[in-house]
């Protein structure tokens, strides 16, 4: 369980800056290839998780496209908990980008224009206007991503297998118990834990967004 929380937390936090950047890009900037980027972001949502896991293996495995080079500088993903975090992050990414993009699109672009006519450069506008106003959406996206990361199974087991103490996350462990005759107790226990964590995460996000709304009015 500690492992699952660590995997989900690290995965979510690591991918957050990228999700904010991509969400902003999709919401505010017109460029060629936007449709392609949009499709790419949503790919993990529609492709079978096993395929995503296999792709990660090809890219970040020890003999993968980037895996070899990364291993030389000491970053190894395959069959490590970091690999599980990467898989979880990739699977949660579309949900997070979507929430962030929607919250940025909901901001009146003229607020940002007003800031720029007052002398604010784009990065300053982003930091002082866009980011604070999109904050509830970013948090909601992060919580969604976290919940998805906790439950991620297919890509994780394909990419990093299910090694006890290293990559055996809660869903992988539950699957293991279910496959083992007479281990129903374990499956039950872990399922309850998983449901508990998910409900806590949702309640937390609801509480956050309510506080945000109250602070705004």
């Amino acid at each position: 369980m500690h492992l699952s929380l660590r995997v989900a937390t690290v995965g979510t936090l690591a991918i957050l800056p990228l999700a904010v950047a991509v969400g902003w890009l999709l919401a505010r900037v017109e460029f060629r290839g936007k449709v392609v980027l949009d499709a790419l972001v949503h790919l993990p949502l529609v492709v079978p998780p096993v395929v995503t896991g296999y792709a990660l293996l090809l890219l970040f495995g020890r003999r993968g496209v980037f895996g070899g080079a990364l291993a030389e500088v000491g970053i190894v993903f395959s069959f490590r908990w970091t690999g599980a975090a990467l898989a979880a992050a990739i699977m949660g990414f579309p949900l997070m980008v979507r929430a962030i993009r929607l919250s940025i699109e909901a901001i009146d672009a003229r607020l940002e224009q007003a800031a720029s006519t007052l002398g604010a450069r784009p990065l300053f506008v982003f930091a002082t206007v866009t980011l604070p106003l999109a904050w509830p959406g970013i948090l909601a996206g992060a919580v969604l991503c976290f919940a998805k990361a906790l439950g991620e199974f297919g890509a994780t087991i394909t990419f990093v297998s299910s090694i006890p103490g290293e990559t055996r996350t809660i869903p992988a462990a539950i699957y293991g118990y279910v496959q083992t005759p007479g281990a129903d107790d374990g499956a039950w226990r872990l399922s309850l834990v998983a449901v508990g964590i998910s409900i806590a995460a949702l309640a937390f996000s609801e509480w956050l967004s309510r506080r945000m709304r109250e602070a705004r009015t």
Binding site: Q113, T117, L118, G119, F124, L133
Partner: protein, 369 residues
């Protein structure tokens, strides 16, 4: 000094406009969709022209032939939007400070205290913008733009989202900042009274083109029978002096060489008053009629009489004292009265037909404590 000359082609819209204007308020006036807002967004740098040149004072914002296009934040052409666009996550004070803190210290020409005093927003400083009324919000937005010490202040229909009473409240603030800070102001509006009251220069725009540039008196008058609806947008501007206020009736008397003018409401300031009179609200009479409710009777001489095959006649009157007054009457009435150029005439104006919005310093039709 503002110099503007830009061309811009969009799928459903073409802009090809040029004008220049001096200090004070330059009003961009015209029907909606005519390109007024596009011009102001071009000056702000929020739109890029296909070709052209925009200069404010010594500063070139845009010069397509030299490849110059300053970004909005390099121009300091602060914009006031129709619906204020205050930052909802900041307090009023933080909103006001936003542009000021981005302005290099040597270029901060405008003192916050003066702006806060003129706009009357001192009591709002700790408030959140969402809790403000529409009029308060707009005053804060104007203050925020001013405190960026802009090279030009851009106001895009700043009063359009307010009801008539609130509009009346804010106009004096805009007049004061026009008079006390020497910042050129570009002011977009389609409200003829606002324009007549505030502007030093009016740029009249129609379908992406400038149709005339000049003082309000020059631009709001002129040839008039071409388009059927044109008579409703004809306006004459008379220069009078505040004489007295009649508290028991709630009206003010404005002295004019051609005769006293009665307007509703009380003027706050003594001295010169500009009054806008719509050409459709003028009645012509020979001699001075008695037993009539209209109190404002102006003496003058017909200097122009314009007719065509249509029902209307467009009459231009030189009033005693030199002001020009336009009037519309039916061709039938002109014939029956036998009026012609050179005739002495009395122009009657109903006081209730004079919009007090167009009269500086008037505090509205009702008595206010």
């Amino acid at each position: 000094m503002i110099r503007f000359e830009c061309g811009l082609a969009r799928p459903a819209f073409t802009l090809d406009a040029a004008f220049s204007a001096g200090l004070g308020i330059t009003a961009l006036f015209g029907p909606s969709g005519s390109g007024k807002s596009t011009i102001i967004r071009l000056v702000a740098g929020l739109e890029k022209p296909d070709r052209g040149c925009i200069t404010i004072g010594e500063r070139r914002f845009v010069d397509s032939s030299a490849g110059i296009f300053l970004k909005p934040w390099q121009r300091r052409a602060a914009m006031v939007f129709q619906d204020s666009q205050l930052f909802p996550h900041l307090t009023v004070r933080q909103n006001l400070d936003y542009g000021r803190r981005l302005t290099p210290i040597p270029e901060r020409r405008i003192a916050p205290e003066a702006v806060i005093e003129i706009l009357g927003i001192g009591a709002l400083m700790a408030r959140n913008p969402v809790t403000l009324s529409g009029g308060e919000r707009q005053r804060v937005a104007i203050g925020r733009a001013l405190l960026a010490s802009p090279r030009v202040l851009l106001m895009d229909e700043p009063l359009a989202s307010l009801d008539a009473d609130r509009r009346l409240d804010i106009l004096p603030f805009i007049e004061r900042l026009r008079d006390e800070f020497s910042i050129p102001i570009l002011y977009v509006s389609h409200a003829i009274e606002e324009v007549a009251r505030l502007a030093a220069t009016v740029v009249r725009i129609d379908q992406g083109r400038v149709t005339s540039v000049g003082s309000p008196a020059e631009v709001m008058t002129g040839n008039a029978l071409d388009r059927p609806g044109e008579r409703f947008s004809r306006l004459s501007i008379l220069n009078g002096t505040f004489a007295r206020y009649l508290p028991e009736y709630g009206v003010s008397v404005i002295a004019h060489p051609a005769g006293d003018i009665i307007v509703a409401g009380q003027t706050r300031a003594n001295g010169p008053v500009r009054i806008a009179i719509q050409a459709t609200n003028v009645t012509l009479a020979i001699g001075r009629p008695t037993n009539i409710s209209v109190r404002t009777a102006l003496q003058g001489q017909i200097t122009g009489l314009e007719t065509d095959d249509g029902p209307f006649a467009h009459v231009t009157i030189a009033l005693a004292g030199g002001d020009r007054l336009e009037a519309f009457a039916t061709r039938l009435a002109i014939d029956k009265l036998g009026l012609d150029v050179g005739d002495e005439i009395t122009a009657l104006v109903k006081a209730v037909a004079i919009d007090e919005k167009g009269v500086p310093g008037l505090s509205g039709g009702r008595l206010q404590s």
